[in-house]
């Protein structure tokens, strides 16, 4: 039934587009033809096509013009031409959200839907449901029910699909059609069955039991439709996941049985469901992996792609499970579909041996330019994982990364590369120089501010420690001259770091910085950005003092306080003018920066998240505590313990968890209590504490009432020991005291009479870690010199129970609760000596630094050197280690 349009189009354009020069107004003008009688079906259908084409090309129809055309179109229902009629349905659907009063066609559509012409009925149902709202739905409900069970599959499917759309706005009406849907679900037609199961699931999805029944019913009898199988596999795996479940459930058996289905689509869906189940063991994965392996040699590209993509996912968690497929994957490396080839290579990089790396890297670099950025990121991530696994391959991998860095690419891609290079540099000192010089080259022509500033920061940190620091200056100073403000500011800071650490270069650095500051002399290039100028001025005056301590404190190691905390404290200070200068020590410290603990594949944004949460956590505590009158005058909150300690087993009558808050001379224990007995209400709850050391309990702040399952909080305030300030470690025995009132579990009514009771809790430990806040010193040596040796003490210990250096390092870090600096928490392999560098701030705001030299013979011998700006912290650290 091919039709020829106007001869004119044919002649003028040849193969060109007859719709190319359509004018909206002209087409709408043409629509007046609709009103003519008799109707010319072919002409009218063509005009409708033109309107649809215009909408399709993004032409915007105003409400009035759309409504006008829509009303004209309704006349066309008088014609019985099938094509024209079906174009009308399409126009109705298309215009249902542009034109007004579209419901006037309801009766025409209802007539078609129940009429004799089968090819009208399906589309009529769909058009009708598109224009119907929930109030009108009741009127056509009867027809819908009939349509769902109609013996013509296209009608039944149309009704089911429309019902699914309607669920969103008329759930309550549609759910009454379950019986009909149930009947349709046993249909022999594959699409009807699929749509019916879809509808049944969406009506019942909030009722887990009903879903389970549905799965077992339909899986027992088997399904006709592969699409329905896929749907059921998804439902089953979701159900399994919510059960957090054991793998011997019938649901898992069902999914596994689908691995033997005759349709590839179902087999793949089942395999991918198994792979995606959380916590799947290698044994459970095996059958899924072997069907995926078969798919790898399929002639269909989509199937190969699906298989290798899923295998790639498996390889992230269980590389050994995929090793069996290595041969098949090797064959895909040369696949003409680059997506498949890339996935195959990155999977092989995860599962293959060290020997195959060179070959794979060569292979992949041959088509790197042809694949999309997303896949490039996948490649970079695979390389990053490799670097950790095979440190000896750094050279090959680095050169590959740099060639990628030079090519075109989006931000995400470039960031992944830079992250990866930085982590290599940090981990491997041999590759540092080459890495830095490549990065220098990269920032010469880098359009991404974030990356440029990051690299400048890294240069400032690592550059001065290299053999030939002066070669980096040119690169950095070029940034100062050529870039915009943010990068300039970063570059100025980096320059200052070179000046602070290298005396030979200091004079030239001073000259460079001076050019950025206020006019001095005849060669002035005063920077026009405030931030850059301020930074330069600041660094200049610090550097000119030529004092190591100042350099360390203000250039190399920056602020350790929490920035939001500082902002609030400063605001507070300006609100209450006082004679005293602002004390930086009163500002809460930043909880340990997360930047250094970046894991290889997490993007930076994800790693930043926890930092923010942690920072606000302490602020929340501070506000809560400040609201308690008993805790007025304790001073600023110094530290809150990161994880609450459970003082009860989790399944007991009462669940108590304790958070420790440290103040300059006091500690507050916060007990979060939950009463899990529904026939009791507790009142006046306190936790009595008995210290073993010289701590003194000052007061208890009770939780007034603790009804069933509503958490409450009580506090205990203690004073730190004054006579022997070094005795900070202490064990408290705890006992909860309260008044019990019985209550009715159903009504919640409480008896007036109560009785006293008590409940023994587990002991609570306070250790030195509660008195020290972690801080990161980027440059430990500078910080060490800054603090000076006035209060330095040194002692040697033997750790008789510890057999390896890693264990010793782990224990010391955990015990002191300080931050390991310059990656000294990593012990290189095959060494028997190691130096651990720790930094922290002691309660009251004094820096405390510990250098611990470890020697492994049969047992570990440890020499601890501690420095601080006060004597007390040093004594406490040494006393507690001993």
């Amino acid at each position: 039934m091919l039709k020829k349009f106007d001869k004119k189009d044919e002649e003028s354009g040849g193969g060109s587009n007859p719709f190319q020069h359509l004018e909206k107004s002209a087409v709408l003008q043409e629509a007046r033809v609709f009103n003519e009688t008799p109707i010319n079906p072919r002409k009218c259908a063509h005009i409708l096509t033109k309107i649809l084409y215009l909408i399709n090309q993004g032409e915007h129809l105003g409400t009035t013009e759309a409504t006008e055309a829509f009303f004209a179109m309704t006349k066309l229902f008088q014609s019985n031409d099938p094509t024209l009629r079906r174009m009308c349905y399409l126009t109705i659907k298309e215009m249902s959200c542009i034109a007004e009063d579209v419901i006037i066609v309801t009766s025409s559509l209802t007539k078609d839907m129940t009429g004799k012409e089968d090819s009208y009925r399906g589309p009529a149902v769909r058009a009708l449901c598109q224009i119907t709202d929930s109030t009108m739905l009741q009127a056509i409900e009867r027809y819908m029910k009939q349509a769902i069970v109609d013996k013509v599959p296209s009608v039944s499917s149309s009704a089911l699909v429309s019902s699914l759309h309607l669920l969103k706005c008329s759930f309550d009406v549609v759910k009454r059609w379950v019986n009909e849907a149930q009947e349709a679900a046993s249909s022999d037609n594959i699409m009807v069955q699929y749509h019916a199961l879809g509808l049944l699931y969406h009506v019942r999805k909030n009722d887990r039991l009903a879903v389970s029944k549905m799965i077992s019913k339909f899986t027992r009898h088997g399904l006709k439709s592969p699409f329905a199988y896929c749907m059921m596999i998804r439902v089953a795996s979701r159900q399994l996941e919510e059960e957090d479940g054991s793998r011997d459930s019938p649901l898992f058996d069902f999914i596994e049985s689908c691995l033997r289905n005759k349709h590839e689509m179902v087999v793949y869906e089942a395999a991918s469901a198994i792979v995606n189940l959380p916590g799947c063991s290698a044994k459970e994965l095996a059958p899924a992996v072997s069907v995926l392996q078969l798919f790898c040699s399929s002639p269909k590209a989509a199937l190969r792609y699906a298989a290798v993509r899923t295998l790639n996912k498996v390889a992230m968690k269980h590389p050994s499970a995929v090793t069996a497929c290595n041969l098949d994957l090797e064959n895909l490396v040369t696949d003409s579909n680059r997506s498949i080839a890339t996935l195959a290579i990155t999977t092989l990089l995860k599962t293959g041996s060290e020997g195959s790396i060179d070959r794979l890297m060569k292979q992949i670099s041959s088509f790197m330019s042809e694949i999309s950025d997303e896949f490039k990121v996948v490649v970079v991530q695979a390389i990053s994982a490799l670097c950790q696994k095979y440190p000896r391959k750094h050279a090959v991998l680095m050169s590959f990364l740099f060639s990628m860095l030079r090519e075109e690419g989006g931000f995400e891609y470039k960031r992944a590369i830079v992250d990866c290079i930085i982590s290599i540099i940090e981990e491997n000192s041999e590759s540092k120089e080459t890495g830095l010089s490549h990065l220098c080259e990269f920032i010469e022509d880098c359009e991404f501010t974030v990356l440029a500033t990051r690299i400048l920061h890294l240069l400032g940190q690592e550059g001065p420690k290299t053999n030939n620091p002066s070669k980096y200056i040119r690169f950095i100073y070029n940034r100062v001259v050529l870039e915009h403000e943010e990068v300039r500011a970063g570059a100025v800071s980096a320059l200052a770091k070179f000046g602070a650490q290298n005396e030979e270069m200091l004079p030239s650095i001073l000259v460079l910085l001076k050019r950025r500051t206020l006019c001095s002399g005849h060669r002035c290039v005063m920077d026009d950005d405030n931030e850059v100028r301020d930074r330069a001025t600041f660094y200049l005056s610090v550097l000119e003092q030529k004092q190591k301590a100042l350099n360390a404190g203000y250039i190399l190691n920056g602020l350790t306080v929490s920035i939001p905390g500082l902002e609030r404290a400063l605001q507070q200070y300006t609100l209450e003018p006082s004679e005293k200068p602002f004390d930086l020590k009163s500002v809460p410290l930043a909880t340990t920066p997360m930047a250094e603990q970046r894991t290889e594949s997490t993007p930076i944004t994800a790693a930043k998240q926890p930092e923010k949460v942690a920072a606000t956590r302490q602020e929340i505590f501070q506000e809560q505590l400040a609201a308690v009158p008993e805790f007025q005058g304790l001073g600023p909150l110094f530290k809150s313990s990161p994880e609450p300690v459970a003082l009860t087993e989790s399944e007991t009558e009462y669940v108590i968890r304790c958070t420790k808050h440290t103040f300059p001379e006091h500690m507050v224990f916060q007990f979060d209590c939950t009463n899990t007995l529904n026939d009791q209400t507790l009142e006046n709850v306190t936790v009595q504490m008995e210290p073993t050391e010289a701590y003194e309990v000052l007061c208890y702040v009770p939780a007034r009432s603790l009804p069933y399952n509503q958490p409450g909080t009580c506090y205990t305030l203690v004073a730190l020991p004054k006579e022997d300030p070094t005795a900070v470690g202490c064990t408290f025995s705890c006992m909860m005291k309260f008044t019990v009132k019985d209550c009715d579990p159903t009504t919640g009514e409480t008896d007036d009479e109560g009785y006293e009771d008590e409940y023994v809790l587990e002991d609570l430990e306070v250790t030195i870690a509660d008195h020290i806040q972690k801080v990161m010193k980027l440059n430990f040596e500078a910080a060490w010199d800054e603090v000076g040796d006035e209060f330095e003490k040194e002692e040697t210990f033997t750790l008789s129970t510890i057999k390896t250096l890693e264990e010793a390092v782990g224990n010391i870090v955990k015990f002191l609760g300080m931050h390991p600096c310059e990656r000294s928490d990593r012990v290189p392999d095959n060494k028997n000596t190691h130096t651990l560098l720790l930094a922290g701030v002691f309660r009251g705001g004094h820096d405390i630094l510990v250098r611990s030299r470890l020697l492994l013979l049969d047992t570990v011998t440890m020499q601890v050197t501690a420095r601080s700006s006060e004597e007390l912290p040093v004594d406490i650290v040494l006393a507690s280690v001993g």
Binding site: G15, P123, E374
Partner: protein
């Protein structure tokens, strides 16, 4: 590499007005980070279908969710996809966090777009179905000129195959009068 794109979205026909009173509360929407866990089983399979000519111009396009809400974004997406796919002879690609299956026929490019979580083979069967139906309607001449001359047929075919993002398949393609 995957965008959390797992949740079905209302297709444009129903617009934002679908705020159900007593409707089905989308279960656990806020509870779980999509992407880490499995997606909600849904029949919303298809994000978009489009047919481009060999210059990458749109001849026919339907979008079924609001991944690309404006015409400008849609066009940009189509252009990108075209640039990535038109020169290679493969049938599947991963782009912008979505799986795209495609097929070329003389001077036409047919594309079906689904989320990265979607069964690739199901998208393939939508594409195959689209191609075969067009082949039937255009009497085995799946090329630009014939498509344009039978645009009404193409609109009808697409409407039958995909209804608001659901794969609904032309059942009666042999007796069908497109």
């Amino acid at each position: 590499m995957q965008r959390p794109e797992a949740w079905p979205r209302p297709h444009p026909g129903e617009g934002a007005a679908a705020a159900p009173a007593g409707g089905p509360a989308p279960p656990a929407r806020g509870r779980e980070p999509a992407g880490l866990r499995l997606q909600e089983p849904s029949l919303y399979t298809i994000k978009a279908v489009f047919i481009l000519d060999n210059d990458g111009h749109r001849l026919l396009a339907k979008y079924y969710d609001d991944t690309f809400p404006s015409m400008k974004e849609q066009m940009a997406f189509e252009k990108n996809v075209f640039n990535k796919t038109s020169r290679t002879d493969s049938e599947i690609a991963f782009f912008g966090g979505m799986t795209i299956v495609y097929k070329s026929s003389i001077d036409l490019f047919l594309y079906v777009v689904g989320s990265s979580y979607e069964n690739e083979l199901m998208l393939m069967s939508v594409l195959t179905c689209l191609f075969e139906s067009l082949n039937h309607v255009l009497r085995k001449n799946v090329e630009k000129r014939w498509l344009l001359e039978n645009m009404d047929g193409a609109f009808l075919v697409l409407d039958e195959i995909v209804d608001g993002g659901f794969f609904s398949l032309p059942r009666n393609k042999l007796n069908g009068r497109y």
